[in-house]
Subunit: 429 residues, 2 copies
Amino acid sequence: MILESIRGQHVERDNLHSSAHWAFSKVDQWLLQEIHQSAGRPPVRLALENSAAVSMPGAVPVATIRLRDRMTLLGLILDPDAGFGDAYAEGRIVVEGELVTALEALDRAACRSHSRNAYASILAKGLGYLQRNSLRGARKNIHRHYDLSNDFFQLWLDPQLVYSCAYFPSNALTLDEAQVAKMDYICRKLNLRPGERVLDIGSGWGALALHMARHYGVTVRGFGISREQVLWARRRAMEADLGDRVEFIEDDYRNVLGTYDALVSVGMLEHVGAEHFKDMGRIIDRSLGPSGRGLMHTIGRNSPRPFSTWITKRIFPGAYAPTLRETMDIFEPWDFSILDVENLRSHYARTLEHWLERFEGSVHQVSAMFGADFARMWRLYLAAAIAGFRTGSLQLFQIVFARTDCRQIPPTRIHLYREESRTSEATGD
Amino acid sequence: MILESIRGQHVERDNLHSSAHWAFSKVDQWLLQEIHQSAGRPPVRLALENSAAVSMPGAVPVATIRLRDRMTLLGLILDPDAGFGDAYAEGRIVVEGELVTALEALDRAACRSHSRNAYASILAKGLGYLQRNSLRGARKNIHRHYDLSNDFFQLWLDPQLVYSCAYFPSNALTLDEAQVAKMDYICRKLNLRPGERVLDIGSGWGALALHMARHYGVTVRGFGISREQVLWARRRAMEADLGDRVEFIEDDYRNVLGTYDALVSVGMLEHVGAEHFKDMGRIIDRSLGPSGRGLMHTIGRNSPRPFSTWITKRIFPGAYAPTLRETMDIFEPWDFSILDVENLRSHYARTLEHWLERFEGSVHQVSAMFGADFARMWRLYLAAAIAGFRTGSLQLFQIVFARTDCRQIPPTRIHLYREESRTSEATGD
């Protein structure tokens, strides 16, 4: 029941049984309005259980965000991102309606509003300091996410455990096929030749390194600091009889040694931090031979913006998605040429849709492993990432770079599209 | 005859008839050494007519650069770039051997040496100030190059007068075909649809605007500040019966009005100056509709570096080739997404090879028009540009950008390469 309109927001009161309730409800309404206002007035209905609610006048709300109690209300005021995320995980916030759609609406409104919460900013700075990617800090940050449990990631990733944006040359591809297509696309972009030495910085569970060795005849050295991933990758190299050509080393990118013909780094730059990009460039410069080239695949932004405090607190400690300009700190000081940049943003939205669908299909197992709060937390993370790639608050850049004298990359990209090979082989091993 | 080796350079003396000559020659040798040293010791022989010469020990010189007199020697010491260029134009320097090969060697050595000449730096700063791209200054700068004479440019450009990097999907293409292929490639990258409104900033002699209107059914408004070009373009629009859909306006990009679905700017950003990139971004932001996209095609660099003083003095006053990072000043403040960057450096080398070949074929006509010094000056400019794109001191970036909400660009680039259409129609009108 809409009673009044204050500051252009429609305020509803549901159950007003007494004057005490009435007084509380007035405060609730005011706080909900403040939250809605500073969230950029998204087309969602914001409701406090058994009390007030607000929504945008004229707009049909795409979803209702229902807060269970007043503590949650205060949490949202103090730090909207972390307040929302934690309350959702703990079941103190329920989203009635399609979760991704609601998050998209919130994301679009936030982009418009540009409002900054002082407390959240201070918290973000503090977190940034605590989670800084020193050699030791990076290991801790990576451990928290990637060492959760291989069994867990197997529940919802593809069989090869490729945990980065896939490539969908056609809408008909399955996730498994699209991950193979992505790995192959990267090999083509680098124009890998048999016998070449490839450095894989952030080699994950090893799928790309094995793909390169198996299909392109190269030798690969992969570096990673997640122990679970490295052990898994080594086992897979042995099983695939590629142990002589693919080596996985548990060490930081700053300790990379040797020289290579090509470099790949997929979904790892997000964990480096912009303040270390010059280090990254120095490492790449000393690792690549005189005709070397490389591909950097990373989540990015149109303009600089940190991840939400909730994401860095609960999901990716120490993570940062750079703008294209910021990535130039890696390449410019060493006179690398940028040959090709492709934005695969819509492909990451689709990849994440697959992941979320598989995740939902296994949510009972996830809950049994880590509890219901964890399952809700990861649902929110995956859904928010879909929303981010759909709205464009997140981008995905694939950057091909090379030494000035590199002649290994053809003068046109026609070879990348001549035949959509290997996507039909798909599903891998 | 090699007599001695000082500081690792071989010093030759040819004609030493007297002790006066001997004394002069000692100074000449020392100056030549200094020049050779600060040029980064290129594998060329540097010789003063009837006196000393130096070359790199061990290296077979790719060419001999012969100085006619001692004034030329002093000019090279004061400002190597401008000294070399002016002396070459005036016939006081002769290059014995292949000119482009010699310039490549000089360019590679200069990249290695990083030596900075204080006088030349001051001169460059002063020139930068005198040639700054204010509304009035930009008009003057553009006038000096592009208003030289349409007859002159017709001697060595393709029939459509496309004065920017062509696109060679195959080596078999002629220049005329490759320019058509380039224009078509741009239209595909923007995925132009019939009825759309396109803004062409720096529309030159109008070839691209006419191509877009003719083959993609769009309406185009082109802006340029070279009167000769605008008049020519208008006449061609009339002749092609496209006067109702293509309009050419003689005005600065800062005065652009109206809103458009797409924007192109080909070979114009070089004349804007990095200090005006934010202005350019503001203009683009106010000109593009909510789902707008654009393509920026520009000469660039791996790392920041001005054009040589000779190029800005004699060929392109006020010009600057930006790094990819610098171009982000255009896009980042307005939250444009970078969708695609392609480096077409080798295509520009090939384009310039065609231009130089045609130029040489018409050099007598050029000399008859503007004199022999002018003809040598332009030969040097074209040859130096080939060298720059071959060595990689110059890059060519095609940047596709779009509003976050733009859905006009397909999620993959496969459509760009599906059929290599229109390249066979080629040679234009």
